[in-house]
């Protein structure tokens, strides 16, 4: 890349260590966009991939991400999403009455709800769709949902054409939610808050790519077939431009 080449992706600091999810939420609030909680330290292959991504200014494909066999579904209405989620679980061979299926169902629900009610904004910055009403997304705005069994876990992704998610908003929401108390639940009608907190708390690995005002791609890997380690997780936020 030449010295005058445009910086395509903004990669902020990378944090590596053994953290609780709450510790990690503090780091996100401080603006750290890449966090790897791992007992392997800098030998962790995922951390090394993130360092490469930082050096190359481009998100890379983590081994836990979906493959060419990934299934996709389009969702454009709030009322039909529950049945579509059940269909996805069925395709994945998961039963929502069992703990792992239920966990995946919960994350899918929050990823989709988040995309549906918070990704699209009016020109004045207000939410285009209200979570208090049944929502039908306009043509060209359906969410693209990916799902696949990968490496003893489940890969999930949701892509929208809004591109409005910001690292600082995630940081504020996580900080507020982990702090608990009266301010934990915001009553305003917009913003990624409680849902993002639930995703962050339940998923093992999360990667977010945002192209402002064009696209947000959130993907995660949910481990836990077996007890697993609650201190091994990662969060990576890439923003283009």
């Amino acid at each position: 890349m030449g010295a005058t080449a445009k910086k395509l992706w903004q990669v902020e600091e990378v944090a590596c260590g053994v953290f609780s999810k709450q510790d990690a939420s503090h780091l996100v609030e401080k603006g750290i966009s890449h966090i790897h909680s791992t007992s392997l330290g800098e030998r962790d292959p995922l951390y090394q991939l993130t360092c490469r991504a930082a050096a190359e200014n481009s998100p890379l494909h983590y081994p836990w991400e979906g493959t060419a066999r990934c299934h996709f579904a389009a969702i454009d209405a709030s009322a039909s999403r529950h049945n579509k989620i059940l269909e996805m679980l069925s395709t994945l061979g998961l039963n929502p009455a069992q703990r792992f299926g239920h966990r995946v169902q919960g994350i899918l629900e929050e990823l989709i709800t988040n995309g549906m009610f918070h990704a699209y904004k009016n020109k004045d910055g207000s939410a285009k769709y209200s979570r208090r009403e049944k929502t039908q997304l306009d043509g060209g705005e359906p969410l693209r949902v990916g799902f696949e069994n990968v490496q003893q876990g489940i890969f999930l992704s949701v892509e929208d054409c809004g591109g409005t998610l910001k690292l600082q908003d995630i940081g504020k929401a996580l900080h507020r939610c982990y702090a608990g108390g009266e301010t934990q639940i915001e009553t305003k009608d917009q913003g990624a808050g409680l849902g993002m907190y639930m995703i962050f708390d339940s998923a093992t690995h999360i990667k977010i790519e945002v192209t402002p005002n064009k696209r947000t791609f959130i993907c995660c890997w949910v481990g836990g077939k077996g007890k697993g380690s609650e201190t091994s997780f990662s969060f990576n936020f890439f923003q283009k431009g």
């Binding site: 039963n95 208090r132 934990q184 907190y197 007890k227």
Partner: protein
């Protein structure tokens, strides 16, 4: 694989038991679930969560806002499934000033993945009883059933 759990919309049924109002909640608590009809309900109320299958962040917001109307009232929760216990831990205002009477502790067999859950009366915990860390699996017979999650979350929920 057939999905065994159909989408069940939220419903609530009111009953009177031993002089108390008991409200049985069922289905999924999401943005469509409203609790307006119970806002003016006076006296002691027991919410029975046994039938709740799903709750999302929109539903949590609705519930927390509803509980704000119940400050100072004698409110109890009973038969809380793990999905509600999770919210009790993640979102303290979900409980508000309510008492948790009983909750389900989920167990999973490390040998055969069989799952079960046990109802725990919070009164027995407060008088010194402990939540069993390991159970014998009714499917494979091994002493391999462990609590699914941190035991502390079930104590804290009370």
């Amino acid at each position: 694989m057939e999905v065994e759990v159909p989408v069940s919309k939220f419903s609530a049924r009111k009953a009177t038991e031993e002089g108390k109002t008991v409200i049985y909640l069922c289905g999924q608590i999401d943005e469509d679930a409203t609790f307006d009809s119970f806002e003016k309900e006076e006296g002691a109320i027991v919410f029975d969560f046994e039938g709740i299958t799903v709750i999302n962040s929109c539903g949590v917001r609705n519930w927390v806002n509803f509980m704000k109307h119940k400050k100072g009232q004698d409110i109890s929760f009973r038969n809380c499934p793990p999905v509600i216990v999770k919210q009790l831990n993640l979102v303290p205002s979900f409980k508000g000033e309510a008492k948790v009477l009983s909750l389900y502790v989920p167990y999973v067999c490390m040998n055969c993945d069989h799952e079960t859950r046990t109802l725990v009366d919070m009164k027995t915990l407060s008088s010194g009883a402990v939540i069993a860390e390991v159970l014998k699996c009714e499917a494979c017979g091994e002493e391999e059933m462990e609590i699914d999650g941190d035991e502390k979350q079930f104590r804290l929920a009370g």
